[in-house]
Structures are given as structure tokens and as C-alpha cells.
């Protein structure tokens, strides 16, 4: 029996599939906005014996594992896909923050991304105000390995599970990483809070 919201979501979608239904459409949004918390949400169109219904499902890691690894479900739009990838990255960043501390995990993320020149993130990385983490500890190795594995693993899954080509996967990852940095370091929000100064450049 499902004991978490994610398990209940997976049980529901599995039962739809078992009874011959299918997911006919998939949208996703982080529902971002100034001075608000993101609300990552799936909107899935279910087709059951010709009848269609729209299901709104809050993002959970269990639901994502099911949709990504078991069903290999793509989003209908590229922008939705990058937001979905950002939700995954932000979730794993939060996990790292809960273990290693917020500032430390974010500093390690910046270092991980600086070492990946394949993504065009320089403008955001330069604005991510964070100290350089000390790199000699086991703490550092664990955090870095986890975050690196999250970024590389997601890119590999985009190709292996969702069957995107290498270029498409790179483009989606770059967009997702830009959103992740923007959310983690509140860059767009800072621009909104200080509009006049930004207008002057």
C-alpha cells in the first residue's frame, strides 16, 4: 500500500496503464515567479478507453523515477523538458544541502559546473556569489561526487531513457542548469528587486 504521495501517484498511474490506459500528453512547469517558491507540477493527459482526463500531479522523486526510468516519458514541449530537468537538479541540490549545508553544497555545485565548459553558464556562474569550498575533506568528495553524478546522470538519462540525441540532450541540460543556478542564487529575483540599478547596467 502506498504510504507517500509519490508512491500513491505511481500506484495510480500504474493502475491506469494496467487497465489499458496510456499517457497521451505530458506538460510540466516549475511555476516560477518573483519572490515565490517554485511548485514543480506535471499535467498529464490520460487516455482511458477513448475517454481523456487531465491529471495535475505535484513533482515527487518517486513519480519522476517512474516517468523517467520506467516509462521513458518525454514532455510535449522542449521548454517543459528543461524545467523538468531543473526540478530534478534542484531536488538533488536540496538533498545535498540537507546533508552538507546550504552554502557549502551551492559552492560545490558552482565548482562542479565551472569544470563543465560544454555548457554556456559563465554569465550566471560569475554572478553566483559563493566562496571557494575547501577541497581536501571527505565531506567535499561526497558532495562533489553526488552533484556531479546528478548532472552527468541526468544527461545520460536524457539520451538513454528519453532517447534525445546528444545535441538535444546538451541543449536541454544547459537550459536546466541555467534555471537551477538562477533559482539557487536568486539572480532574476535580485534583478527584480533592484531594477533601476540594473537598468543603468
Amino acid at each position: 500500500m502506498a504510504s507517500t504521495r509519490g508512491q500513491a501517484q505511481v500506484a495510480f498511474l500504474s493502475s491506469v496503464k494496467a487497465s489499458g490506459g496510456k499517457i497521451a500528453g505530458a506538460r510540466f512547469s516549475l511555476q516560477r515567479g518573483p519572490l515565490k517558491f517554485i511548485e514543480p507540477t506535471y499535467w498529464l493527459t490520460l487516455d482511458q478507453a477513448g475517454g481523456r482526463s487531465l491529471q495535475e500531479l505535484p513533482w515527487t522523486s518517486e513519480l519522476e523515477e517512474y516517468l523517467l526510468f520506467q516509462l521513458g516519458l518525454k514532455m510535449d514541449a522542449e521548454d517543459d523538458e528543461s524545467q523538468r530537468f531543473a526540478a530534478i537538479l534542484l531536488n538533488n541540490l536540496r538533498k545535498a544541502e540537507s546533508i552538507h549545508g546550504k552554502d557549502y553544497a551551492r559552492a560545490v555545485l558552482v565548482e562542479v559546473l565551472r569544470a563543465k565548459p560544454g555548457y554556456d553558464l559563465a554569465d550566471l556562474l560569475d554572478r553566483a556569489a559563493t566562496p571557494r569550498p575547501s577541497s581536501g575533506s571527505e565531506h567535499y568528495r561526497d558532495c562533489r561526487t553526488f552533484l556531479e553524478h546528478s548532472v552527468d546522470g541526468l544527461r545520460d538519462s536524457a539520451q538513454l531513457n528519453l532517447e534525445y540525441g546528444p545535441d538535444e540532450a546538451s541543449r536541454l541540460m544547459e537550459a536546466a542548469l541555467r534555471i537551477t543556478l538562477d533559482e539557487a542564487f536568486h539572480i532574476s529575483t535580485a534583478d527584480l528587486l533592484f531594477p533601476r540599478q540594473d537598468a543603468r547596467g
Binding site: 509519490g6 519572490l35 517558491f37 522523486s61 518517486e62 519522476e64 523515477e65 523517467l68 526510468f69 530534478i88 531536488n91 538533488n92 536540496r94 538533498k95 540537507s98 549545508g101 546550504k102 552554502d103 554572478r127 556569489a129 553526488f146 553524478h149 546528478s150 552527468d152 546522470g153 541526468l154 544527461r155 545520460d156 538519462s157 536524457a158 539520451q159 538513454l160 546528444p166 540532450a169 542564487f185 536568486h186 539572480i187 529575483t189 535580485a190 528587486l193 533592484f194 533601476r196 540599478q197
Partner: protein, 162 residues
């Protein structure tokens, strides 16, 4: 924001919530009102990385201006006396918690707005720091009313795409 400052903000929000939920446990209404106002000054001080400790410690004017403006909005013919006394004199003491809660929320909104406006001449890195503090403050204000779940990591299998 340092872990210590973050913990302090967390404490301030939790104490404010406790005082607003159970004012009687924290003393007379007048005493609770004073304590809440002190906590709000502390919250504002932590949220603004540019605040000077000496100046902030001796200057209660910004908060009191916001507070008296608020009291005059919610009480017709308000005086300069503490809200708790004015409510008690009108036989409306039971409204104290609701009105103070409203002010605690409004004060955070006004502080956020003020931090943005007064940041016109600050350096870009300071602007990001203010923004991070504001969001941290809002986060604590929300979290104190909604316990945060520890996220479950999405685990990727060990394999490589070509």
C-alpha cells in the same frame, strides 16, 4: 547569510509564531507587544547585511513609524499608546493576536520593499546578498508554519551515454 544568522532568523520566526499563537504564555499583552516589536527589529537587522549594529541598536524609528502607521489604519482615532492598551480600553483585547499577526506579516513585506529601494547604490554582490537574505527570511516565515520535508534524491544508474 551565515549558518548562525540563518538559525537566528529561524528562531525569531518560531518565537514570533509562538507569541502570536499563545500570547498569554509569554506575559501580559503589553509585554508581548514589546517583545514582538523587539523581535521584528532583530529580524530586520539580520535581513539587511548593510545595517550598522550601533545605529540599528539605538534607532527604533523605522519600525515605530511603520507600527504607528499600521495602528492608525486599524484603529479609528488611535493614539500613541501601545496597541494592547488601546484595544483593552476599547474592550477589544481578544483582537490583539490577529492584529499583531497582520502587522508581523505586513512588516516583512515593507522591509523587503525598503531593502530593494535603499539598495540603489549598493554593489552587485551586496544586492545578491540582500536578495538571498530576504528569501531566507521569507523561507523561515513560511517554513515555521509548514514543516519542511527532507527531499529524496533521484538516483541515476551507473551507465554512460555515447
Amino acid at each position: 547569510m551565515s549558518p548562525g544568522e540563518s538559525r537566528l532568523l529561524q528562531f525569531v520566526e518560531a518565537r514570533l509564531e509562538s507569541m502570536l499563537c499563545r500570547p498569554a504564555a509569554w506575559g501580559s499583552l503589553e509585554s508581548v507587544e514589546d517583545q514582538i516589536l523587539q523581535l521584528l527589529e532583530l529580524r530586520r537587522f539580520v535581513l539587511d547585511p548593510r545595517a550598522d549594529p550601533q545605529v540599528s541598536a539605538s534607532n527604533t524609528q523605522p519600525l515605530m513609524r511603520r507600527y504607528t502607521r499600521y495602528i492608525s489604519c486599524v484603529l479609528p482615532e488611535a493614539t500613541a499608546a501601545p496597541l494592547s492598551l488601546q484595544l483593552t480600553a476599547r474592550g477589544r483585547a481578544e483582537e490583539f493576536s490577529a492584529l499583531m499577526r497582520q502587522f508581523v506579516q505586513r512588516d516583512l513585506t515593507e522591509v523587503v520593499a525598503e531593502l530593494g529601494v535603499s539598495g540603489e547604490e549598493t554593489l552587485p554582490a551586496d544586492r545578491l546578498e540582500v536578495t538571498a537574505r530576504v528569501l531566507e527570511g521569507l523561507g523561515h516565515a513560511v517554513r515555521v508554519r509548514r514543516p519542511q520535508e527532507v527531499p529524496t534524491a533521484l538516483k541515476f544508474p551507473d551507465r554512460k551515454a555515447s
